[in-house]
Subunit: 556 residues, 2 copies
């Protein structure tokens, strides 16, 4: 019996399943260091912290510091482009042992099967991947998604999985104006994550009074401070595109620490490799003058308690043995991660238990396109989507169509619903030749293509049709780079290494076309997202987000 | 619909049910003050905090400071000697809007009916009285209790009330030595409160690893610090007898604040009137140099989160409108308490909804006694229970029976089980004449009587038999003071004012007998408790608590 074993181990009456010997434990409660052994029971729970514990297996912890496993409070795993098991391997290297995942991207393509997929994955993994139910599928009625998830479906799902909260409630106007379907969704859940960029004053009060507990969209300190004052947990986000740590670092005080958490939201595998994950956020915070107690609390304990998880976030008896062993405490350099009592390099995957993504293949259902599909008349002044490097917010520009770097952008409906192809103009990619296309196109995930000429745009879209999704670069009618993402057009079933290799090649191909953006495919993927200001293009047309309505590209 | 109303009020689209206008809100998140209106919806939830809210009713908050309602993290309401509705009235005056109650005393007399009683009371009250299920009834097998509550009964109860946690697990040896019944109890609950005075090292690890989350028995800082380090929530207790605030005040730092709470455990009505409640603990902490942010956090937010209550502890949208309005912030002087959105002086009790304690009457089932029942031979050296004013811990003295202030003490079984009468000696009461008796006798609540002569001891016991329980003082064969406690021999169904009046009279009567103790009936009531060191007397005999076995009073 687990309880009996824990008590026996705690008392030192029997050897632990695993002991980390002589490690310097950093206590997130008192802020003290303690030289101690950490004794772990066979159920992955810490049974004792102190002197003189013996184990059936022992890890030498001398010279290392132990902190609780990190928590990514909000992530779309699809953005890693990986299967959940590959994702787990990548983030465990960075000390992340719990993530709260919102299958919003997959759900927009395949509906509630997305919830099943990640729920099943969660069972097969060692890290704790907690699934939230995506609240806004589709995000708006200005686009064509692959699926619709109703309040009724969410309620039924929640009935079967009462532990699953509702994911980021991005339909802010729906809350404020008390849309019936929105109220039905909110009423069905106890735990609701938020998404309310720049919301303030009475509207913020109303949004929180609706039961929404947190927000990961704060980008300036006063915004975050108001949200904390109103009782929200503020998740400090560092995605591959949106990066808020530097701006919000002044908030990382001991007073505020219980009301903060870290999250990544959307982060691609190259970015993880090159810039780390939560570990790097901790290190940057400490380097920026934040006290280590605050930085490490925010990375684990604060997130856990804010998310209602009482069983993790401390190195103490009764807590999950999610432990990060650090070579350097202030630099947060991870030597080894113990997850649920298992050293991360010893996890064995039961291939049969891992979820199968094959049913998500063949999701790119658009017809074969030709250059004529991307040929349209334009002259004089036009509305142009101004892409800003490193931001999802676009400028709404008005320029002469012949201006420098004004390229064509189109969105091709790919769920087999209506065959829409919409057109607009974009500035900021800097392409001199060819075209690039992506079947990841938030949030409805139609194909977005930017190009210097119609023929290459058609070629890029057809390449994705052929590969069943992914990122493609085309030059002079030839595919020069391709990362296939055949699972729902969103992620790959290949290994992380293969994906990263393809991504690196693709990066080179796009640079060869003249592209000047740091993450061109991320920027491309967010052009169709009509919930982020100011000008966006969905498969239904050009959207003035500030007015939440369609506008013509032409200003003549 | 509640949700819709909250959103409308939050946005200022409709008047709130109640607005506290222009109050200075103290934010337990950031530590800031904010001059604001607090808008409350008709369901007792805060809908908005900010400027310009209007309400159907308004309270002028100018010149007052608003803090979240206080939480008593662990209390035996029986010790207030009052019915729950009278108790509520008393503590609301001190800003207490939530209490976690353990019906341990009543359960030891009447069994699981005690849970029903407080559960039903909880529904009829406005404050949130959360019932825990008493875990150790009886506390030991060294005494005769009125009832036994098995693991099986606890599990069934928990099945019907999944929100009810398990109350203070005082059977520490049962945990450490893995008693089968103890493990069955622990396994059945997610939330388990602790009780582990002076437990340390590996035994503390084992106790916490068994799933026990908090402890209210810490009396010295290093003890409390170790418990916090091991992940426990430490409840700082100020009971009428055990008082730990002064000793533990050094722990009240910003670092530690999330891991602390306040509780009263056992507090009688005169003490509440004369020394206040949680309000007074806050004031004393601030006067002692603790930062107000820490003191107020510990009084509400920290307790709430440690107890798993996410819906209170902040003045923010979506939180319960449990609000204390203070005249003086640093002195914590309560002007008015709002509980669940209702000003405390406007609560109307539905008499029919209040629980009925009449079935607990006639619980004193001992036979009529006479002087001969308290006459026994004693000479030479004897074991003497040394009572220490203001402490439940007794000294184990060895004295000549004729020494100064060595009085006779007896415990009379009163549940009609076996008619036991046991005898011993006690020092510290200072009685010169007469006898005092109590049907409150922790934890089995047999009658404990101390006297200068056998006739008065018999008279005192018979007086309690007549009154069906209570506290009695007798002098020269005459009852000189009596507080009847006819409900299970533990509490009264009279008003708080009547109880206090009787208590004051009784206090005078006991002083007239020469008694020198501050709280003689509390000290009397704890003489039978064989889980507190060092020498105690149950109805079964004299107990050497350190050896957990019976010993003879005589040393000859």
């Amino acid at each position: 019996m687990a309880l009996s074993e824990r008590i026996e181990i705690g008392r030192g009456e029997r050897p632990a399943a695993l002991v980390i010997k002589g490690v310097r434990v950093f206590h997130l409660t008192t802020g003290e260091f303690e030289e101690a052994d950490i004794a772990i029971a066979s159920d992955g729970v810490i049974a004792g912290v102190g002197q003189g514990y013996d184990g059936m297996r022992e890890i030498d912890g001398h010279g290392l510091t132990a902190v609780p496993g990190f928590i990514d409070a909000h992530v779309h795993i699809e953005s890693s482009l990986m299967m959940p098991s590959e994702y787990e391997k990548c983030v465990l290297m960075h000390g992340v042992t719990t993530c709260i995942c919102d299958p919003h991207e997959l759900a927009n393509v395949v509906g509630t099967d997305a919830f099943d997929f990640y729920m099943n994955a969660s069972k097969a993994l060692t890290m704790d991947m907690r699934v939230r139910l995506s609240s806004c599928v589709p995000a708006t009625n200005l686009e064509t998604s692959g699926a619709v998830v109703t309040a009724d479906e969410l309620s039924k799902w929640h009935g079967r999985h009462p532990e699953a909260g509702l994911a980021e409630f991005m339909n802010v106007p729906g809350v404020l104006f008390r849309d019936k379907e929105v109220l039905a969704k909110l009423s069905a859940f106890d735990f609701i994550d938020g998404h309310c960029p720049l919301l303030s004053g009475r509207d913020l009060n109303a949004y929180i009074a609706a039961g929404i507990r947190n927000c990961h969209e704060s980008s300036i300190p006063e915004e975050a401070r108001e949200k904390i004052r109103r009782g929200m947990q503020v998740f400090i986000r560092e995605g591959s595109d949106e990066r808020n740590l530097d701006a919000l670092m002044p908030l990382m005080t001991l007073e505020n620490s219980p009301f903060l958490a870290f999250c990544t939201d959307d982060r691609n595998p190259l970015d993880m490799e090159e810039h780390g994950h939560i570990d790097r956020m901790v290190a940057r915070a400490i380097a920026g003058g934040v006290s280590p107690l605050v930085a490490y609390r925010v990375a684990s304990w604060s997130a856990a308690r804010g998310l209602g998880l009482a069983d993790r976030g401390l190195i103490a008896p009764g807590q999950r043995a999610d432990i990060v062993l650090l070579d350097d405490f202030e630099k947060c350099s991870v030597r080894k991660t113990i997850v649920d009592g298992i050293p991360f390099d010893e996890i064995h995957y039961d291939v049969n238990a891992l979820p199968d993504a094959s049913s998500f293949k063949n999701s790119v259902k658009c017809r074969e396109v030709s250059a004529s599909d991307f040929t349209f008349d334009a002259s004089g002044r036009v509305r142009v989507i101004g892409v800003v490097d490193g931001s999802l917010v676009t400028d709404a520009l008005e320029l002469d169509v012949a201006s420098d770097d004004v390229l064509r952008v189109s969105v091709v409906e790919r769920h087999g619903k209506n065959g829409n192809i919409s057109h607009g103009f974009v500035r900021g990619f800097g392409l001199k030749n060819g075209a690039i296309a992506s079947s990841v196109g938030h949030d409805s995930h139609n194909i977005c293509v930017v190009g210097t000429n119609a023929a290459d745009m058609a070629c890029a879209v057809n390449a994705l049709r052929e590969s069943q999704g992914g990122f493609a670069a085309v030059c002079d009618g030839r595919v020069t780079g391709l990362l296939p993402l055949p699972c729902a057009g969103l992620f790959s079933d290949k290994s992380a290494d293969e994906i990263k290799r393809d991504l690196r090649k693709l990066r080179e191909s796009v640079r060869a076309l003249g592209c000047i953006l740091h993450e061109p495919f991320l920027q491309l993927a967010f052009i169709p997202l009509p919930v982020i200001p100011h000008l966006k293009l969905t498969d239904c047309g050009l959207v003035d987000v500030d007015r939440f309505s369609f506008v013509s590209p032409s200003l003549n």
